[in-house]
Subunit: 214 residues, 2 copies
Amino acid sequence: MSESNTDGPELTAAQQAARDERHQDRMQRKKAVVDAAIARADKVRGIVVVLTGNGKGKSSSAFGMVARALGHGQRVGVVQFIKGAFSTGEEAFFRKLEGVSYHVMGEGFTWETQDRERDVAAAMAAFDVARGLMSDPAIHMVVLDELNIALKYGYIPLQAVIDAANARPAHQNLIITGRGAPAELIELADTVTEMGDVKHAFRAGIKAQNGIEL
Amino acid sequence: MSESNTDGPELTAAQQAARDERHQDRMQRKKAVVDAAIARADKVRGIVVVLTGNGKGKSSSAFGMVARALGHGQRVGVVQFIKGAFSTGEEAFFRKLEGVSYHVMGEGFTWETQDRERDVAAAMAAFDVARGLMSDPAIHMVVLDELNIALKYGYIPLQAVIDAANARPAHQNLIITGRGAPAELIELADTVTEMGDVKHAFRAGIKAQNGIEL
């Protein structure tokens, strides 16, 4: 902690005044840096966001951005590529909202079906829906949830995803989630977060629960 | 990509059959591992989730979990500790929903106010609201958004946060976001994600935009 005093010893009035002045100086310099960076960032276009890594938070982050987009009155399309035992509250939540076009791939997790041909057919059907959303200028944001898993298993050709991303309307934001994002997608993306798994309650024997995983 | 064939050469029928059988074997083994892990995770209690690191996705992930919780009919409390120029769509979105108690700290970013005493007073007022939510058994989930920033500047004593977290109702989930989470919070937490900043559109000169950052 850089300047924590609340847990430390009492300061004299003079020490407090000096500390507050240092704080003001530092914050003035920081404000100048932040303001300059904001002024430099003047390009306006839709971006590609890739959320990958093994840590918790990839899909939930995408759904938080859906909430933000809806807060601005935007229209959003969501395609969930892996659906199964881990069915989630966000489906119940977003399905009933205005402005969201929500699609869940018909099959379960790949280790539930154990049938490659059926998985490929379901993944490609979901991707056809995704392509429709990605070519619709009325849709401001498209979320392809767990697409990286379908790419990893080779259920969907990577090049088809890249082509659809490059051909989408200029203002459309595209969010792709799932561990193991291919290097070509990371290259294509504007913003990429690698979610590092520092700790997970599941490994400590705590059941997946409503609101967190479900 | 472990078994991508869709971009590769054509396979004979025999090769396809062999591939599909290998796929089925691997998925059967994976299912056994996953099912055993799910059976082992039998503890049911609220958890502490810490979302930290420099990458994009900390607050949006927390708000995605709020959406999940609401999808299950839970009641949620949100306190945003840092509010400023980067005002967000989630506020507009969640404020009008049933089941959410939403509070935004009155002051802007710390580099906007440049006044330490005012920042401390605002942070402590926000933390008092948070403590109220964290002691209310009717609230299933509490989000303390950007709390780590307030801890970093020493605006709120870390021990007070730890005490409130330990005293909360057993079923309540607590989500804390912000870069630079202190080691003691990571120790206390059940699930911790470190969001790694691989790439950010802002650094490429692209303006922060509705639905993504705003």
